[in-house]
């Protein structure tokens, strides 16, 4: 690891290139630049996840840590290239004083030529991502509604400020659920009559799942909150049969379908690195996410003020 104190963006870029040259390898394999907008609390986990994801997507990882305060504006950097961290390049940049408001000026000389730029806020994120000094360089902007103290409010913010290219890890977490549900629908279920989603009250993924099912299946959705971790149950009733996935203990999931023996299905909770790696696989706007996000008001859970009378049963239910 190399430490550079009171440095500049250009010096950091030179230091990375020098380190590459010293190791005898070039950076031509890098597929993207990842800008991580972190705080001192979130940066360690974010660095670890990004470094692991870099094994699948070799990339330059630039972690910006804002240290707003009264000290004079300056930049401190820690650089590591290759080695145990995986094939990527990593620079943790601490922006002190007023510099914290001018992160863009540090980022520009460090962006890899011609390759996509992705921004990731592992914790709190600004309201308008696409207009953020860092976000505006990125084709893809990743937030995590589940990582903040008020996930539901965060989803509202994301919905109001949505721009194509935005995405949220609360949505990424749903991919295994969505693929099992989609696979279950390979057998005819008939027109869908009703949908139920049970999840923890502060879980941001549950409403997105409910909204996705609502928009794809066109049937009323009822959401319930439960104490079990994450999403614990999805039940879809069609004219020809019923599909249910139950994960009451948060670990082992069971798929039940009318006329079939219940089957164990794997619904592992994935690590941050796996989520990030999935997110980096496609860099074009995720229209399905946009639809699920926009449809959120239609599926507001029963315990919250209702936008539509689709949420009839106001009882709290635990499973």
């Amino acid at each position: 690891m190399i430490r550079l104190d009171e440095t500049t963006g250009n010096s950091v870029a030179t230091a990375i290139a020098d380190e590459r040259r010293r190791m005898g390898s070039s950076a031509t394999g890098m597929v993207l630049t990842l800008l991580v907008l972190a705080s001192e609390e979130t940066q360690a986990d974010a660095v670890q996840a990004a470094s692991l994801a870099a094994r699948e997507h070799p990339m330059r990882i630039l972690v910006f840590v804002a240290r707003t305060g009264r000290e004079p504006a300056h930049l401190d950097a820690e650089i590591s290239v290759g080695g145990d961290q995986g094939p990527g390049e990593l620079a943790v940049l601490r922006l002190h004083g007023k510099l914290a408001h001018h992160a863009g000026s540090v980022a520009i000389p460090l962006l890899l030529p011609d390759t996509p730029v992705v921004a990731w806020w592992p914790g709190t994120a600004p309201e308008d991502l696409a207009d953020d000094p860092i976000g505006r360089h990125a084709v893809r902007r990743i937030t995590d509604a589940s990582a903040v103290t008020r996930p539901m409010r965060s989803l509202d913010v994301r919905q109001r400020g949505y721009q194509p290219g935005d995405t949220d890890l609360a949505w990424t977490r749903l991919t295994p659920w969505r693929s099992i549900l989609a696979a279950a629908f390979d057998q005819p279920v008939g027109p869908v009559i009703s949908i139920e989603v049970v999840c923890e009250s502060s879980n941001a993924s549950g409403p997105l799942l409910a909204s996705w099912l609502h928009s794809q299946l066109g049937a009323p959705v009822r959401s319930f909150s439960a104490k079990a971790p994450g999403i614990s149950e999805v039940r879809i009733v069609g004219e020809l049969g019923e599909i249910a996935i139950n994960r009451a203990d948060g670990v082992k999931a069971t798929l039940s379908r009318t006329g079939r023996s219940p089957a164990t299905v794997a619904l592992p909770r994935r690590s941050l690195a796996e989520l990030l790696a999935e997110e980096l696989r496609r860099l074009d706007p995720d229209e399905i996410y946009a639809e699920a996000l926009m449809g959120l008001p239609a599926v507001a859970p029963a315990t919250r003020p209702q936008a539509k009378p689709t949420t009839a049963r106001p009882s709290r239910r635990t499973s």
Binding site: T28, G29, V31, R55, E56, H57, P58, P87, T172, T175, P176, R178, S179, I180, L181, A182, A183, A184, F185, D186, Q187, P188, V192, L213, Q216, L217, G218, V251, K252, L255, R257, G259, R260, S261, A263, T264, V265, A266, P268, E278, R282, D286, E287, I288
Partner: protein, 509 residues
């Protein structure tokens, strides 16, 4: 074919959802064999672990009773644990193994097939497999006809109600044109042509698919991909190992039938074929067949082919035995372990460009590559001495190991004198995309379950490949015997002479 059922949760714009196979049962015949344990079972687990198999997936193992009475679940568990590419996860294993069934019986044992039939209909109800069945014949070709007959008798080859039936077979697809035709007739008599999937695992490799992407998605290469710019093409598949314990399979087959007939001619077709109209299986196949039909052998085979057998010696610092000393190989064997041939492609694009194919065992290292060697620049403004260290520009597709692509060109040596030397520019899959490139078998098994055939050779391609090679095999059978070559090197002297006659030389791969 399945009636089109629109799944409301599969939106074509939803590109996060993986292509998951539909509900089905995979029946593996010869499930205790080497291939099943080392490749097929681990690949199925890896697919399940990546979430690409449906909850309604079931697997039936069928094996002959002469194996030790071991629990099928245990065999499967051990083979997955030892050979799977992805991490072993108990919950995934649990989900997968709930759908495992095992049938023990001889391949001509009608009762065993009757119980297979019962098990399959039980699975249809119990697991919801919708009666879709893929039969994977991981067995020697001599058993194909009995198994296929039994399947037909039990009604397992055609489906009564719109479910699909597929059959998967592995090479060798015969040992000459006549035997290939017999084999195809056996399989085609019971299964429809579209439902026969011939596995050539090379075609499942990322690089092989990438050859099509490089050639047809870019504008950079196609203009120079012809006889105006290309001098010749070398296609190499070298193995560093000997035949090991496979004498029973290998002796009498040899390198040409084992590797050249399928892998090398398929690589040739993908390198040289015209752009398909689309990437639909039928269009790609049509171009490959067109290309294979334009391939011809030189008139004087003794000047443009070479073959050999590896001799006793040292390889990579270890003493190794020669082919004729391998256990199970008769001392008089004429089977070649090295084969090299020149073929010409009689099209406007490739007129005058020879394609050299070579394959062998116990060579310098394990490598498979396609090298497109370009002509020298028609004029050099540099002094002769300055360019003396420069050779032809070359573009190499590395199929294995280190999947990727290399471009070789001349560049100025730093310093005051103007001197040029070859340098290489490298693209490595592992660098730009992921260490998690799936195994070829994963890709191919998934394609079988999805019914996606572009990567599988059609029986016409197989027969055309035999038509190309049969004259070489006949010539060799009647002319002398294979030359001994040093283990750990790059083949017999005759192979060097064969290229020297054309004023060329083999690349060291």
């Amino acid at each position: 074919m399945t009636a089109p059922l629109v799944n409301p949760l599969r939106d074509p714009r939803d590109r996060r959802l993986p292509r998951i196979a539909g509900p089905c049962t995979l029946v593996v015949y010869g499930v205790t064999g080497d291939l099943a344990r080392k490749k097929i079972m681990p690949a199925i687990y890896d697919l399940a672990n990546r979430g690409l198999l449906p909850p309604s997936f079931a697997l039936v193992g069928f094996a002959r009773p002469d194996f030790e009475s071991q629990d099928f679940g245990q065999i499967a568990h051990d083979s997955v644990r030892d050979h799977a590419r992805t991490e072993f996860r108990e919950d995934v294993w649990q989900q997968l193994s709930e759908g495992f069934r095992f049938i023990r019986g001889d391949f001509d044992d009608g009762a065993a097939f009757d119980s297979l039939s019962t098990v399959l209909s039980d699975l249809e109800v119990d697991r919801g497999t919708l009666g879709n069945i893929a039969h994977y014949l991981s067995i020697p070709p001599r058993f194909f006809s009995v198994v296929v007959e039994q399947l037909e008798r039990c009604g397992l080859s055609r489906s009564p109600h719109g479910a699909w039936r597929r059959v998967v077979i592995e090479k060798p697809f015969g040992h000459d044109l006549a035997s290939a035709q017999v084999l195809n007739a056996v399989v085609d008599s019971v299964f429809t042509t579209e439902s026969v999937f011939r596995i050539d695992h090379y075609l499942g490799k990322e690089t092989v698919q990438n050859m099509l992407a490089i050639r047809f998605a870019n504008n950079l290469y196609e203009p120079i991909w012809n006889g105006n710019y290309v001098d010749h093409v070398q296609i190499t598949m070298a193995e560093d190992i000997g035949i090991g314990s496979r004498a029973g399979y290998y002796d009498g087959i040899g390198a040409t039938r084992d590797v050249m007939q399928n892998h090398l001619l398929q690589l040739l077709a993908l390198t040289a074929m015209e752009e398909p109209v689309s990437f639909e299986a039928e269009s790609v196949r049509r171009e490959k067949e067109k290309l294979l039909s334009s391939v011809s052998l030189p008139r004087r085979l003794e000047l443009h082919t070479a073959r050999g057998q590896y001799a006793e010696g040292w390889q990579g610092g270890l003493p190794v035995v020669g082919y004729l000393q391998e256990p199970g190989v008769p001392a008089t064997s004429h089977t070649e372990t090295y084969a090299a041939i020149r073929v010409d492609v009689n099209t406007r694009r490739w007129a005058g460009v020879p394609f050299y194919l070579r394959t062998g065992k116990r060579l310098g290292r394990r490598v498979t590559e396609v090298a497109v060697v370009f002509k020298k620049a028609p004029h050099q403004p540099f002094a002769a001495g300055d360019v003396s260290e420069m050779s032809n520009n070359t573009l190499v597709f590395r199929v294995q190991p280190d999947e990727g692509m290399t471009v070789r060109f001349g560049s100025k040596v730093p310093g005051t004198a103007l001197e040029l030397r070859d340098v290489t520019m490298d693209f490595q899959y592992g660098d730009s995309f992921t260490e998690a490139s799936p195994e070829a078998y994963e890709r191919l098994i998934l394609d079988v379950l999805l019914g996606d055939p572009p990567l599988f050779p059609h029986h016409r391609e197989v027969e055309m490949a035999w038509e190309i090679l049969d004259p070489v095999l006949e010539h060799w059978a009647t002319h002398g015997r294979p030359e001994q070559y040093a283990s750990g090197g790059w083949g017999p002297q005759a192979s060097y002479e064969m290229l020297a006659r054309d004023g060329r030389h083999w690349r060291r791969p």
